[in-house]
Structures are given as structure tokens and as C-alpha cells.
Symmetry: C2
Subunit: 220 residues, 2 copies
DNA sequence: GGCTAAAGTTAAGCGTGCTTAAATATAATG
DNA sequence: CATTATATTTAAGCACGCTTAACTTTAGCC
């Protein structure tokens, strides 16, 4: 088993844990753009190596060992993202893909050195928490999808999903960024689309877009 | 054919060209720590893709296409080395290995951005020239292996071979670095070992060590 | 509970980049 | 030039991470 492949599987499983139900093989297959058969195959190997607890037709769960490995990969990824964004100036919508390749190549010492240069950041450029060397994961402010907000409410951006370039490019184009205030002016029942106001300008956005922006409620 | 593998083969072939005779399959195998059979195999594929001109039992030569690809890989490698060394502070003896992994993962745009941050460096931390975006390769000062120097001569370090960590660690320990002055105090005929003076201290070094340090002659 | 749709697994096979062992071509030497 | 040593290529096979197609289990629904 190659490290890159293993690391990608473990990261996907670990990141799903945020949502707190056991991940399904189908979801892994979708996230990684591979067949279900490939997932079954790999789960057997990960299980044999002791990174995943897996019994066929039953659930998929990281072992302590696998969880540690995965958490470190997520750490590596997010430190790269901050480094690329803050030090090298890579645009917001490009850091994820670039980091996704670099995360497998740097030594842990290099990652630690970068973290130090960045002054031990707690969140990546999309608002995701960065696991510390000791395993601690910073807490996120209480947040909900923008799509849940009611008309005439006000909120502030806490986190955005980082895996779709076009989405990131679009929202940054209309002024949405971390900690930006959003006023919800209108919510249409028939398609759940919203009219929002960002920094003085109004925009109409789909429910799908609003599903991927997570906000802290300021005024209900 | 995976990119990483292809890129490593092309880099090895390209770097050998510095020494200006056609590379032998055996040399590729040694440099990459693989069997001769594997090299034959890959040469066929590289030939089919038009990166290498190859006829069995005859020579191995990069095509224009292959040379461009390879030169860019060497560029990527060396820019990483400077970046790791100068910006992140990775120690001299570790930059090569780290860069060797990172060189396959960053986008060309990221490389260009790093190059800009570094103010378009001409040489990497070991004195090797960095090919520019347009393909130009900076000239090196005229240099010879330290092992060729005569007793009582003085020279200055232009370049060192970067592929052996222990060697780099050792020479940096005795004060050898780029542009450092070396006084050759004595050369022993029976084993070609040298007594050299670096920054006021004297050391005995083997011919093998001196073969890997390249110097500009200051005083014969 | 029985039936069906969805999820998951197995089987067979493919391309890649290696390996070792055997065969063959080239180079070096007397 | 003949012989031997070395370099290179071929052949067969292996581990990996995938694929599609067929099969099995589980979950959802009446
Ligand atoms: Mn990311
Ligand atoms: Mn992120
Ligand atoms: Mn190097
Ligand atoms: Mn170098």
C-alpha cells in the first residue's frame, strides 16, 4: 500500500467524523471519485494494517492508530493551506488543490517549522480547525449553514467548504470571506434561494450555494 | 506512466548532460537505485512518448521535448531548495531530499511565485545553477574538484554535490560552505588525501570527499 | 414478514513500475 | 581474431490501486 493512497483514505474517513455518524463506503467512493469495489479492497488492507476497524457489511471506524495518522494528515493539509495563502500568496480558491498534493510530500519537521513561522494558526483559510502537534483540535464557534437563516437575520461567516474551486471563486467574487457579515434580506420558499447583502451590495444565491457557507448567527 | 517516475528519469538523464557524454543505462540504474531491466523498460516508454531518443544497444538522448521537460524539473527542484533553505530555514544537508519529494507536487504557478519571492536566484544552496523560466541556465565560474588542487594553493568553493546527506553534514561541520576559502596545506601521494585549512582550522580529508567539492582556483 | 432497491463484496482483469534469471549484444583484452 | 567480461535486453512474475460485471447482504417499504 502506497502512503499517498492510504493517507487520502484516512483523511476522508477522519474528516467525515466531524459530522458524527459512521462513514459509508459509498461516501468514500464519491469523495475520492473511485468505484465502491476499490473502497472495499482498500478497507481490507487498512484493516489488516490496523488503521481501520472493518467487518464486511458492518461499519467503518478508525482505530486509535488510524485516527492519529489521519489527524496528522489533516493537520499537514491545513498548515500547507495557511502557508500557501499567507506566506506565498496563493489565491483562496487554489490553496486546497495545491495543499492536497503537497500534504503527502513534506516531512513532519518541515510542517512543524512552517507552523512555527505562521505562529501556530488555529484555522485554515476556509475556517477549518488545524489539529495541533499534540492532537488538540481548536473548537469552532457555533455555526449553521447559511441556508438555514431566516429573512431579516444577520450572520457572520465562520467556515466554507473548500473542495469546489468554482464555488470559492464565486463567493469571494461577491465579497464573502471569513468573518464577513451577511444580511439575509429575503428567503424564497419555492426554491429556498436567498437574497443576501454583503458589504453593501445585494446578491441572489441558490440554496446549494448557501449550503456550503457556514455562519454564526448575530441577529435572528 | 506516472509523472513522478517519468520526471525522475528525465532529471537524472538531464543532469548527467552537464558532464557532456551520453548517459549509460547502468548509471541511471545506479542513480535511481533500481535494476538495469527497469531502466530498459522505462526507456522504451519514454521513447514512445517522444521524450527520449532510444535505440536498443545504442545511445540514450533526450529529445527537444524531453529536454524541456527535464530542464523544468531541475528548475523546480532547485527553486524548492532555495526556498526551503532561505525562507523556511531547512538545514543545508536536508534540502535536497525534501525538495526531491516536493518537486513533483507543486504547480508551475507556485514555483514561479516562489521564484519571485526569492528574487530570481541563479544558484541553489549547493551552487547548482537554476534554469530560468525561459530556459536559460546561468553559467558557473570555472571550477575543478578540490581533489585536483596542489599543495600550498588557495581556492574558493563554487559547488558541492548535493546527494549525500552525511557528506554535506560533515563538510558543513568543518566550515565548508559556498564561497568559503580553502587553503590546501598538504597532499599525500599514497592515498591522495589532503590537509586543508578552512577559516583558520586544519582538517584531513579523503580524496573521495575532495572529489565532491568543486572550487575556483585563487592561487596556484 | 416478504419483496425490492440500494449498498457492499467478490471475481477477473488491466496498467504501472518494479524484480530476478536467462539470453544476447557490445567492449576489452591478450 | 578469439575469448572473456560487461552492458543491455528479454522473459516471467509480483504488488499495487484501480476497473467492470456478477453476486450477496442489508435496509426500506407495503
Ligand atoms: Mn483543504
Ligand atoms: Mn480547508
Ligand atoms: Mn538537489
Ligand atoms: Mn542542489
Amino acid at each position: 500500500m502506497t502512503n499517498i493512497s492510504k493517507e487520502d483514505y484516512l483523511s476522508v474517513i477522519f474528516k467525515h467524523k466531524d459530522q458524527n455518524e459512521e462513514i459509508k463506503a459509498t461516501v468514500i467512493a464519491e469523495m475520492m471519485n473511485i468505484s465502491g469495489a476499490a473502497v472495499t479492497d482498500m478497507l481490507k488492507k487498512l484493516s489488516k494494517e490496523g488503521d481501520v476497524k472493518y467487518e464486511k457489511y458492518k461499519g467503518i471506524k478508525l482505530t486509535k492508530k488510524g485516527e492519529n495518522y489521519a489527524r496528522n494528515m489533516v493537520r499537514r493539509h491545513r498548515i500547507w493551506e495557511v502557508f500557501l495563502h499567507d506566506i506565498i500568496g496563493v489565491p483562496w480558491e487554489k490553496v486546497h488543490d495545491e495543499a492536497h498534493r503537497l500534504e503527502h510530500s513534506a516531512s513532519d519537521e518541515l510542517i512543524d517549522r512552517m507552523e512555527e513561522m505562521l505562529n501556530f494558526p488555529e484555522y485554515d483559510p476556509h475556517g477549518d480547525p488545524i489539529p495541533a502537534k499534540n492532537g488538540m483540535i481548536p473548537k469552532l464557534r457555533k455555526h449553521v449553514p447559511l441556508s438555514c437563516m431566516k429573512p431579516d437575520s444577520v450572520c457572520s461567516v465562520v467556515r466554507v467548504n473548500d473542495f469546489h474551486k468554482e464555488f470559492l471563486n464565486y463567493i469571494s467574487g461577491i465579497g464573502i470571506k471569513l468573518n464577513e457579515k451577511i444580511v439575509v434580506e429575503e428567503v424564497r420558499n419555492f426554491d429556498k434561494s436567498l437574497r443576501i447583502n454583503v458589504n453593501g451590495s445585494s446578491f441572489d444565491v441558490s440554496q446549494k450555494l448557501a449550503d456550503n457557507v457556514f455562519v454564526e448567527i448575530v441577529t435572528i
